[in-house]
Symmetry: C2
Subunit: 444 residues, 2 copies
């Protein structure tokens, strides 16, 4: 699939037919995408940078996330306190998050305060400073965040499962980095990561809410002064070229908590593969809602867990489909056995027409309900621009969901659920042989 | 303050001037309050019952929450699976939560599906069955939820702090109950709690979104068939009559995690006290946002914690104002010392005009941004009806915030922050003498 933004001349404004999304490419390659949301009095502004933990060398694991923290500490014209006072004073929210493939800095404000939001978010992203003293203070904060991750079994499992699935491939490395890499990170490494990676051609400014496209573009142009130099084209969207030599493994983290936690999963396909639509339906059927097989079999029928669900991670060239359950250690063997039975049954017999219809209804409703929030709208268009270089209307997406058939879902299930599984466990276990047999057997 | 709903004749429809909220009282005393939200295609439906853990005898601690779970397991015409399939099929969300003073069952759906949402939520609340077999399965789920609470330091601390503040008063008891009370709970105790407490006069049906008042009332009338008998008036809102004989204490839970967690707090006043407005401003100044004193002193200047904030719990006749921080155990003494310095300074010197203005801006923006969500609107009107028997327009609330003065906030600070503190700690500590001195000294 060609990146549409590749095909656009710079400084061109286009309206993606029927999507409600308008796009302008400024000199330097920064893209501005906006969506007017009727009936709201707010605006969500995100600067999306197509850079994440996947782009790090192993020696600077966690640099993308550390930098995301650091940039808020000071710009040439504002201290961290001044930035905080400005945003708190207008009752706005200012934050950021780092992923494997992108980093997003965002603000959510009343519509009248859009100029402040664009200005302050762009200031942080473009001109956030990397000062040695700030690096040392923020290193402590990141180490605290690492400790929180280590104390949160679901977070820890999420990281452990991707490592178990992808080995030392960058997709398998935790976004936050490691104790060693965070402790060793230097000011110069972070500064260099910022200067080399945060180029305007890799940036998308996404704005949704009670906003006007031309006015927003003008605000971005002003905020990006000094960063609009050359007439570079936007960077093409990420494709990736996954090459893996390792097989999925079993990960065990010894924790003496009240609950044990289990996640298991398989490698799937990337976001450009059309099978992601049947996979979404499959996910809803297996562990997406109250009527899903896992919820009914594990919780409703047997009371074995409070929290049980499945989920999908999607990257440019690969993805992961995973199932999670938390339970008291004495139930872990039963939980693993029931989860495996559910998966084996779907792999063998597929899903029913009634399940397919219900799952599609669930995705449809969830999509529409989710998009009432301006923040969610901003996320949708920012991610879509960065990942695909194009946009789909809600109607298009609803139609795409509607066309999925029971057979397509059953086929995807038969393919995926026969692939080798990785598993990760957090609980009172030191070695594989401490685990119930049904858990050990997940990883062949 | 008189409860307005007391003054209304039954079966009366009224529109609260300028609030956008309409109310109808049906025979039996159930109140229907609706708010039309322009520009949305969804509806949020909540049945609020003015009954919570505060209404339990100690022997059935956790009954309100256990019952909330159990009612979803079956009604005379639907199994748990049928309820789940119905809601998943329309892409809706169905859930419930239990508080100390109320329980809410709710659904969030596309506007066309409002009739289904009203019908299924009312069915669960009014006709959910208490079957012995379901009690035993759901007991296991509640025990898993208890284990999750015990593994989540912030949840555990929240419960521990209220116990440290209120002793064995019902407000001090955890909503979920105890291992012993959950294990001992019988089908008859739960059934009796349902029959005696869940009376229509204690119920408010709150609906917000793309909805019409008369149509909604008709749907509720139909769903409440058989429960609209007598012409009872709505129950008056809860007043409480707090009498406490115990002093705040120090609570320690030994956990060998990466982080230690500290919360400290004081008893304040109930929701009918006008000082709750200056307290909201004080909370924003001390620990409400990025520019708050705690965030700046603990995280930005010193890097001692990732998560640090303050918060307010409000009940009919009392409340709690608390501060939280999580950090690695070697930093706990420093964190406690900095938090105490911040509080002592505000108690002594009050807040500045700039802080007051910024905090009011923050509350204003947060209120308006928060109310774009139909779920949040439903919560606002449901809680307001149950707690006050009346409603305020957003404009009224914004004006109320605007009138708060620096002096009022400083006065409330001087009063509250000199009261005796309770504290709760989760971390590698067994006895008070294992704690850093700055933590021990919080509780005089």
């Amino acid at each position: 699939m060609a990146s549409r933004s590749d095909l656009l001349p710079v400084d061109n404004t286009s309206s993606e037919a029927d999507t409600g999304v308008r796009r302008t490419v400024l000199p330097g390659g920064v893209r501005v995408v906006t969506e007017h949301v009727p009936g709201v009095r707010s605006a969500a502004v995100g600067v999306w940078v197509g850079v994440g933990s996947r782009d790090e060398q192993p020696s600077v694991a966690g640099a993308a996330h550390f930098l995301e923290h650091l940039l808020f500490k000071a710009t040439p014209t504002r201290s961290a306190l001044e930035i905080a006072e400005l945003v708190d004073g207008i009752g706005g929210e200012l934050n950021a998050f780092t992923g494997k493939e992108h980093t997003c800095f965002y603000a959510h404000v009343l519509d009248d305060d859009l100029p402040i939001a664009v200005d302050v978010v762009a200031d942080v992203v473009l001109r956030g400073r990397c000062r040695s003293a700030d690096v040392d203070v923020e290193r402590q904060v990141v180490l605290e965040e690492l400790a929180i991750r280590d104390d949160d079994p679901e977070d820890l499992l999420g990281d452990a499962l991707l490592t178990a699935l992808y080995g030392d491939h960058p997709v398998g490395r935790p976004i936050i980095g490691s104790l060693e890499s965070i402790e060793a990170m230097t000011r110069n490494q972070l500064h260099s990561f910022h200067v080399r990676r945060y180029t305007p051609a890799r940036m998308v400014v996404a704005v949704a809410g009670n906003v006007d496209h031309e006015h927003t573009v003008e605000l971005v142009r002003r905020a990006f002064t000094g960063h609009l130099g050359a007439s570079a084209a936007p960077a093409p969207h990420r494709r990736g070229d996954l090459r893996l030599r390792t097989a999925p493994t079993l990960s065990i983290t010894d924790r003496d908590n009240e609950q044990a936690h289990l996640t298991l999963g398989i490698r799937t396909f990337g976001r450009h593969d059309p099978r992601r639509w049947p996979l979404s339906v499959l996910n809803a059927v297996i562990g997406g809602g109250l009527s899903s097989r896992l919820f009914q079999e594990v919780r409703e029928r047997r009371g074995l867990a409070y929290s049980v669900y499945s989920g999908i991670d999607t990257f440019a060239d690969t993805g992961a489909f995973s199932m999670y359950a938390g339970c008291q250690p004495e139930n872990l063997g039963d939980v693993a056995a029931v989860v495996r039975e559910v998966l084996a049954d779907v792999a063998e017999n597929g899903i029913t027409d009634a399940e397919c219809a219900r799952a599609k209804g669930s995705l449809r409703g969830g999509l529409v309900l989710g998009l009432e929030d301006t923040g969610a709208r901003m996320h949708r268009i920012g991610r879509s621009e960065l990942s695909y270089g194009r946009h789909w209307s809600v109607t298009d997406t609803l139609e795409r969901i509607a066309t999925v058939t029971t057979e397509q879902v059953s086929e995807v299930a038969a393919d995926l659920l026969h692939r080798p599984f990785a598993a990760a466990v957090v609980g009172p276990y030191r070695r594989p042989r401490d685990l119930p047999r049904a858990v050990r057997d997940i990883v062949a």
